[in-house]
Amino acid sequence: MGSLPADFGGRILFILQKYGPSLLNGALTTLIIAVVGTFIGCIIGFIVGIIQTIPVEKNDSIIKKAVLWVVRLILNIYVEVFRGTPMMVQAVFIYYGSLTVFGINMSMWFAAFFIVSINTGAYMAETVRGGILSIDIGQTEGAKAIGMNHYQTMTSVILPQALRNIMPQIGNNLIINIKDTCVLSTIGTVELFFASKSVAGTYYTFFETYTVTMAMYLIMTIFFAWLLRVMEKRMDGPKSYDLATKDTLAHTSGMIRFPGRKWGERK
């Protein structure tokens, strides 16, 4: 065991040298759980949000109406329960509950992914529903008017626009998840907060260790905030467009060729 330097900066360097790898490992675990959890959560959110916005019309069959009613009831209960209770309590409840009641010994990773996903899903369900409802009814009518069914309208027209509109909220959820995975330390997940606790406890260097920890969380959240902005820009597509022409001489001045065989050929 090396001796602890007396000054603040020295102690931080000491921690980085000695425990840097274990903190980085913790950060990596945090990152994987947050990213995978948010991704699966978004999928859950989309499925729930889509089911919640299926239109019911007067002359739909009674079976469709009944099935939809039951499914929606279950989904509403899911959303309310998981939005309305703390993730830390859910983690303990599910992890230890499944062990004592059902005898299922979840692996640490499975439990972590499961809890974060199902939690994010509950929030995303409402976000997706809002995203779908925010799209102008004219988009739906335009799609219906060229003969698209509900499924085609959703996949080709509504969901791509809804996804773009809820990107900021997805970013929010990802950042919240990066921070909130620390509650998984209660079920023994060795993420960044758990790793920091161990390091801080060894030398009683709480302030120094958590300075490093804070910086690591901040770097992760700022990076993902930036990444999502970049993704939003990409989804928006180019700000300007080039005009197409058959005049090949004009192609040198920035105009573009028509796509396809017949229109694209040289004349």
């Binding site: 060229i146 003969g147 085609q152 065989r261 017949k262």
Partner: protein, 246 residues
């Protein structure tokens, strides 16, 4: 002999207690260019939306080649693919380029292969003078351009009849001109059209038949010469007088 494409019989539509359409009867034959005129709130747009089933009629029937479109097992999407619609607010798909807007219906609904769909989309865009703009997104072009793309999108489905719901009402006068000239060309080519419009000169010049609606009923109908030259009912005269003053 070719029968009517569309037959509207005793059609009524209520929103709650408010009767918007009552006992509407008329037919659309191949090649007809029918203009529906009348004051705002007279039910013109609702009639068009009932024909395309964007609104469900309260009673009465709409027959498409003799089949009731409000029937339980009627394939509504397939019907809508054959009866195109152009909206006042364009309703272009904001997540697609001009070209994609015109191709998506052919690709997804008609299951036409990509190359053919692209050729058709380009030729219809060329027809409305919008082919150079294939890569533009709807938010990047003007209202008149949007409406011309919307017409190309509807034409690309090769509909039997095309419904226009006040296609120029959201446009400034210059853009109105460019959209109307496209519609004039379509009328000359013999496309069957049913047009709700406030453009009286256009209705007079282009249509084969004019329908005047007032308070949810068809008040008077006839050739443009009859309606504009020699209207029989007082309401028709009053309505048209407002346009003559300006």
């Amino acid at each position: 002999m070719s029968g009517p494409i569309l037959e509207v019989k005793h059609l009524s539509k209520k929103f709650g207690d408010n009767t918007v359409l009552r006992d509407i009867d008329f037919s659309v034959y191949p090649g007809d260019v029918t203009c529906i005129i009348g004051a705002s709130g007279s039910g013109k747009s609702t009639l068009l939306r009932c024909i395309n089933l964007l609104e469900t009629p309260t009673s009465g029937e709409v027959l498409f080649h003799g089949t009731d479109i409000t029937g339980r097992n009627f394939n509504v999407p397939a019907y809508r693919a054959k009866v195109g619609m152009v909206f006042q607010s364009f309703n272009l798909f904001n997540n697609m380029t001009v070209l994609q807007n015109c191709m998506v219906g052919m690709r997804k609904v008609l299951k036409i292969d990509k190359e053919t769909a692209m050729q058709k989309a380009l030729s219809y865009l060329d027809k409305v003078g919008m082919s150079p703009f294939i890569n533009a997104k709807p938010r990047q072009i003007s209202g008149g351009q949007k409406q011309r793309v919307a017409i190309a999108r509807a034409l690309a489905m090769e509909p039997e009849v095309l419904l226009f719901d006040e296609p120029t009402s959201a446009l400034d006068p210059q853009m109105v001109g460019e959209v109307l000239s496209v519609m004039r060309d379509l009328a000359k080519e013999g496309l069957t059209m049913l047009i709700v419009t406030h453009e009286m000169a256009f209705a007079r010049d282009v249509s084969s038949r004019v329908v005047f609606m007032h308070n949810g009923v068809i008040f008077e109908e006839g050739t443009p010469e009859q309606i504009f030259g020699n209207p029989q009912k007082q309401e028709t005269k009053d309505f048209l007088a407002r346009f003559r003053q300006g």
